[in-house]
């Protein structure tokens, strides 16, 4: 059952991605409506998958690499729907949903084995740590998409070569604003995730700074990048192209960190 719903969601996101691409290129309103329904259907199927998986394991979808990818892509869709609803940027889908599809497709190749989580204080902190971090990552993924869109649009306006994307994509202001807003939300979540992670480590009776360096160093780097973007914006008006590049670089680090964890 969970296999069926998983495959259905994968298929829906693929169709939605294609739909959004077609919409970006040919502007057929029907296609974008279709893509929208596909995303909604995919989300429902994925929710079912997560529900079944959680009832089997007895805990949230955040212990194994597979679960993390499943949960991250689910949250990406949720954040996407919220951002789309708030900012009415239809073409955001063409940049986010393919990413969701890739993450989910990737997760299909990961081990589906379940991991045990001990019943204790540790469990609470682990839940908090993973959930908050993944929520932060989902927000960062939207910032990543907005950043790419910003760079495309900025390049066109700057070089005065106004292609089809110039007319189809939203203004620099809207993209910059979206980039900023999602990092504003994502960074505190990620920071809290970071902190609860250290608490969890202490609960597990490990000294505060005894973590595996190859695993923690990239995390610290990721945190520093978003910290720079976050405070740079507040303090010195870091915006536009640099902010977009920052969001893209930051998300690449996130992905790199994830892979380091898997290896």
């Amino acid at each position: 059952m969970d296999k069926i719903s998983f495959n259905l969601s994968l298929f829906s996101y693929l169709m939605a991605s294609l739909g959004y691409f077609v919409y970006l290129a040919y502007r057929r309103p029907l296609v974008s409506t279709f893509a929208g329904w596909m995303v909604a259907f995919g989300l429902v199927c994925q929710t079912v998958t997560i529900g079944i998986r959680s009832s089997q394991t007895g805990h949230g979808p955040y212990t194994t690499s597979f679960e993390v990818a499943l949960f991250l892509s689910w949250l990406m869709v949720v954040v996407y729907i919220l951002a789309e609803w708030k900012y009415k940027i239809k073409d955001l889908g063409a940049f986010v949903i393919p990413l969701v599809f890739i993450v989910l497709l990737f997760s299909a190749f990961l081990s589906k084995e379940t991991a045990l989580v001990p019943e204790s204080e540790v469990r609470f902190w682990l839940t908090m740590h993973r959930t908050l971090s993944i929520m932060g990552y989902a927000a960062f993924s939207i910032a990543f998409a907005a950043g790419i869109m910003y760079l495309i649009q900025e390049h066109q306006v700057k070089t005065k070569k106004l292609g089809i994307m110039y007319f189809r994509m939203p203004s620099l202001e809207v993209l910059d604003n979206l980039n900023f807003k999602v990092i504003m939300i994502g960074f505190p979540l990620f920071t809290l995730g970071f902190m609860t992670g250290s608490i969890q480590n202490t609960e597990m009776n490990q000294p505060f700074f005894s973590w595996d360096l190859t695993r923690t160093l990239p995390l610290v780097a990721t945190w520093l990048i978003y910290c720079l973007i976050f405070f740079g914006r507040m303090a010195v008006g870091l915006r536009g192209k640099k902010a977009a590049q920052g969001a893209i670089f930051g998300f690449i680090t996130v992905i790199g960190t994830y892979f380091l964890h898997i290896l």
Binding site: P29, V157, K158, K160, L162, F167, S171, K242
Partner: protein, 426 residues
């Protein structure tokens, strides 16, 4: 009695082949339009008509009894109405019938036939013409359906092609760029350096899109004041504008200075003071007012007059390309409209066929019931119901299939066959 043609005709002149001196003579006065429509619809030849009269075209759409006669009649009417002789005007008229007339209307309402491709005004004018005609009852089933369809087609073309997406004047291209940089222009400010006519026009355009704050700087302070007054802005001393640059989101320069008056350092300073909030610089002066390397700065976008002209040219080309996509939509919609029309053609036959069957049923049932006088009222009713539903069942498939087949190329053969088989033309 069978017509597979819609009997639609169109007679008109437009900006493409007819000079304005002729067009203005043939234009219909909006006030007297209703009288003209009523006059036309009283002609026995003309079933329905709509007059579209704008500064670029005069066209009469009509459904007539006979297309050849109808076209002549409409040409005569246009000339007679304006007290002109037809001889010298005949060369200007174009006339279309049926499919071509439908296609032409769809092209006109979608602004493919306009002087400026994709302009929005024409759709409103077609709507007005239609409403006036409806109000004076000169339209009927077919033209109503046709024009409603034309509005839908225009909407579809606008939504699904980029035909009206791109600005085709310098100031509209500038506004578009400003919107792509700042999104909502409300709460944004513009500074005019120099009071050139083009700069004023662009500023007015920006103001119409919501720009609230306007600064005007000019070497002659009086001109700055007077332009600031017309634009509801504030005048700046020419020497002071450099210090105030940071206040403006959009700067339009149009001075006659022989050298650059704005250089990279000035903008660098301004952008720093603005905490990197973007600046859009429009230099429409020749020789240029702003050093081109300013564009290298981040969050600064500099367009000179040539850049804007290039954008306009590219936009025009793009509209031309989009017009091809629009034509595809129009071709499909003409076919759809024809389907509707051919079904309409089949409707009288279907009604006749059903009436004929019902007649026969009634006669036969009554004959039978006469010999079955012992039956109760309810039983008689049941027999009526039974036979009715029998007839309906038998005719259901032929009706559906006729409606389907009539849309095909040899649809009228089916129509004729039905009429023949059911003896409808006795």
């Amino acid at each position: 009695m069978i017509s597979t043609e819609s009997n639609l005709v169109l007679v008109g002149v437009n900006h493409k082949a007819t000079p304005v001196e002729i067009r203005e003579k043939l234009a219909f006065n909006q006030v007297k339009l209703e009288a003209s429509l009523e006059h036309l619809v009283r002609c026995p030849e003309i079933v329905e008509n709509i007059i579209l009269s704008t500064c670029n075209r005069v066209e009469i759409y009509a459904r007539v009894e006979n297309t050849d006669q109808g076209i002549q009649l409409l040409k005569d009417f246009i000339c007679d109405y304006h007290g002109l002789s037809r001889g010298s005007l005949d060369q200007y008229f174009y006339s279309y019938r049926d499919n071509q007339a439908i296609e032409h209307l769809f092209r006109v309402s979608s602004s493919l036939d306009s002087m400026i491709l994709g302009e929005a005004q024409i759709l409103g004018q077609v709507k007005d013409a239609y409403n006036t005609a409806r109000a004076s009852s000169s339209t009927g089933l077919v033209l109503n359906q046709l024009f409603e369809k034309a509005f839908n087609v225009a909407k579809k073309v606008r939504e699904e092609t980029g035909i009206s997406e791109r600005g085709v004047s310098i100031s509209s291209a500038a506004v578009e760029l400003a919107k792509k940089i700042f999104d909502d222009l409300e709460n944004h400010s513009v500074m005019l350096v120099g009071t050139g006519e083009m700069a004023e026009l662009a500023a007015k355009h920006l103001i119409s899109y919501g720009v609230k704050t306007v600064y005007v700087a000019s070497r002659t302070y009086e001109r700055a004041i007077s332009l600031a007054q017309t634009l509801n802005g504030c005048a700046l001393d020419f020497d002071a504008f450099k210090e105030e640059l940071y206040r403006a989101d959009i700067v339009i320069t149009s001075t006659s200075a022989p050298k650059f008056i704005i250089n990279k350092e000035m903008i660098e300073k301004a952008i720093h003071k603005r905490k990197n909030k973007p600046i859009f610089l429009i230099d429409i002066a020749v020789p240029r007012d702003i050093a081109p390397e300013v564009n290298d700065l981040e969050n600064v976008y500099l367009y000179d007059i040539d850049d804007l002209q290039n954008v306009v040219n590219a936009n025009m080309e793009e509209r031309q390309k989009e017009a091809e996509n629009a034509m595809e939509i129009i071709k499909q919609e003409v076919a759809k409209f024809n389907n509707w029309f051919s079904i309409l053609d089949a409707v009288p036959t279907i009604i006749e066929m059903r009436n004929r069957a019902e007649e026969m049923r009634k006669i036969e049932v009554e004959k039978t019931l006469k010999n079955l006088s012992h039956l109760s009222k309810n039983d008689q009713k049941a027999i009526h119901q039974l036979t009715q539903s029998l007839v309906n069942k038998i005719l259901h498939k032929p009706t559906i299939n006729l409606k389907k087949k009539i849309q095909s190329k040899d649809g009228h053969v089916y129509l004729q066959a039905i009429r023949h088989l059911f003896h409808l033309d006795d």
